[in-house]
């Protein structure tokens, strides 16, 4: 594929624009803006990756990964504002989930300590961890609020924070893992994952693509499991104060 054929493929967006204009959907502006945004974003990332892949020092790579975790922590922490110290918890959960997964992948020899492995795979793992952390927060806060009566009944009977919130923690871990494991169930049946599609288009054999895809699925499952467990276990304690009272923050 040369650059000109890419330009021609933008014709598809133009087609969508014409349809929108024809039917008076008034989505033209949004379509132009979002397609331009995607173009600029991906070109910038492409140049960045070119530069990053030349980095030899693992220290820098580590910093880049840490930066990704930081961004994930902010985004996911914002989701869990009702939980005190949600940003720190989200960051810790994402770091725990992704570093645990990374360690296994290195040890098993799935990836090598080279930028072209570490950065894209790190991005996938950290991104998935971030989504899981957000879902955990979201559900935990909702369950704690929903179950307030039951939790206070347990507290009044002499339960500690863990005993009182056990069911809420379980529900939130379960809910946070649903998307990851549902996509595992349907992979290949409903959709071919992007990474596999890309590998096959780029000329790789489907079986090698499947091998990589499997490793990726396992790693996403592992990262999600570790992250949501870490987030749920760190977060529930924060939802109770030193007097063992349920102390969720009100949404700002």
């Amino acid at each position: 594929m040369n650059t000109l054929s890419l330009v021609f493929s933008y014709g598809l967006v133009v087609l969508a624009l014409l349809i929108s204009w024809w039917h008076g959907l008034r989505m033209e502006k949004e379509m132009v803006l979002s397609s331009l945004r995607a173009t600029v974003q991906l070109i910038v990332v492409g140049f960045l990756l070119e530069a990053i892949f030349k980095i030899e020092s693992t220290g820098y790579l580590f910093l880049i990964l840490l930066f990704m975790c930081g961004v994930g922590g902010v985004v996911s922490g914002n989701r869990g504002r009702e939980v005190p110290a949600s940003h720190a918890i989200a960051f810790a959960g994402i770091v725990a989930g992704s570093s645990g997964t990374f360690a296994v992948l290195f040890w098993a020899g799935v990836i090598h300590p080279e930028p072209r492995y570490i950065i894209p795979i790190g991005g996938m793992i950290i991104g998935n961890s971030m989504n899981t952390a957000s879902l955990t927060f979201n559900r935990l806060a909702a369950e704690l609020k929903h179950q307030r009566g039951r939790i206070e009944t347990l507290l009044a009977l002499g339960a500690d924070a863990g005993q009182a919130s056990l069911d809420a923690v379980r529900q939130s871990v379960k809910a946070a893992l649903i998307p990851t494991f549902d996509s595992m169930k349907t992979v290949g049946l409903v959709h071919l994952p992007g990474i596999m599609t890309g590998y096959i288009i780029a000329g790789g054999s489907p079986l090698t693509a499947v091998k990589y895809q499997l490793a990726i699925m396992y790693m996403l499952g592992g990262a999600a499991g570790l992250t949501c467990l870490a987030v749920a276990l760190l977060a529930y304690r924060r939802c109770f104060n030193s007097d063992l009272q349920l102390a969720l923050r009100l949404r700002a």
């Binding site: 179950q147 009566g149 039951r150 206070e152 009944t153 347990l154 507290l155 009044a156 009977l157 002499g158 339960a159 500690d160 005993q163 069911d167 007097d243 063992l244 009272q245």
Partner: protein, 263 residues
């Protein structure tokens, strides 16, 4: 204070003592200068219109809410210095609306003991169910299948399973239909007599307070405005606010208001 209360206060040292307690939430004063004693075997009714701070007062006793000033003593010791889970085991509480985890009645009743590693025997469970007026056939039923009144009895049995010396009842009948209200009231009286607990009952319902005919604290805007036997209080109101309360002129003091409504 009526004679009976003075007598019991002399023979029994106070189990719970509240001294000049204040409580604020989000910068707003909820309770102000609350003082009273509660002895073992005593029953105290806290009466007041909605929003007067009754529930908050009750919830300070087992520290489901924290007071911002003054002292709350349990068995002569400041509750802040006690282990919170131990304190709560000794102070049982029944809420306005029973919230029970989906499980059998028996599993629910055994919750308190289970939380600190004990198992409630079938025999003990039957005794407790009997005490709250539910036959032992209820033991294996799912709590979801019970009426609100029956759930409230299970909640009462749950609180009793910890053998508390104080029982806090936070408008325990306001979600119930009129016949269930009377049943639960009689149950509370019989449990109080048999177990000799110190009982605190919060209610907004003047008629309920009259039926209990006990020492009553009248709460208004976070302060105790009258204290003594309810009948006496009604006959000789100590000030204008008390008189207005009994005439139903203070907000929501009217006993005709629908049950279940709060705040």
């Amino acid at each position: 204070m009526d004679n009976r209360n003075l007598l019991s206060a002399r023979t029994d040292p106070a189990l719970v003592s509240i001294r000049e307690m204040n409580m604020a939430r989000d910068g707003k004063t909820i309770l102000n200068g609350i003082s009273f004693d509660l002895a073992l075997g005593e029953i105290l009714v806290i009466l007041g219109p909605s929003g007067s701070g009754k529930s908050s007062l009750l919830r300070c006793l087992n520290r489901l809410e924290s007071n911002s000033g003054g002292e709350i003593l349990f068995e002569g010791r400041e509750t802040r210095t006690l282990r919170i889970t131990e304190l709560r085991r000794k102070i049982g509480m029944v809420f306005q609306i029973p919230s029970l985890p989906p499980a059998t009645v028996r599993e629910n009743v055994g919750t308190g003991p289970r939380l600190h590693g004990e198992v409630l025997t079938g025999e003990d469970c039957a005794t407790l169910l009997n005490r709250v007026g539910l036959g032992s056939t209820f033991a294996e039923r799912q709590v979801e299948s019970l009426s609100v009144g029956e759930k409230q009895r299970v909640a009462l049995a749950m609180a009793l399973a910890n053998h508390p010396s104080v029982l806090l009842l936070d408008e325990p009948t306001s979600a119930l239909d009129p016949t269930a209200v009377l049943t639960i009231e009689n149950l509370i009286k019989s449990i109080h007599q048999r177990l000799n607990t110190a009982t605190l009952l919060v209610t907004h319902d003047l008629n309920q307070a009259l039926r209990f005919n006990a020492t009553t604290l009248l709460l208004h805007e976070g302060r105790i405005i009258a204290k003594g036997n309810i009948q006496e209080m009604m006959r000789h109101p100590s000030d204008e606010r008390v008189r207005r309360f009994f005439q139903g002129e203070l907000s929501e003091a009217n006993p005709e208001r629908p049950p279940g409504a709060k705040k």
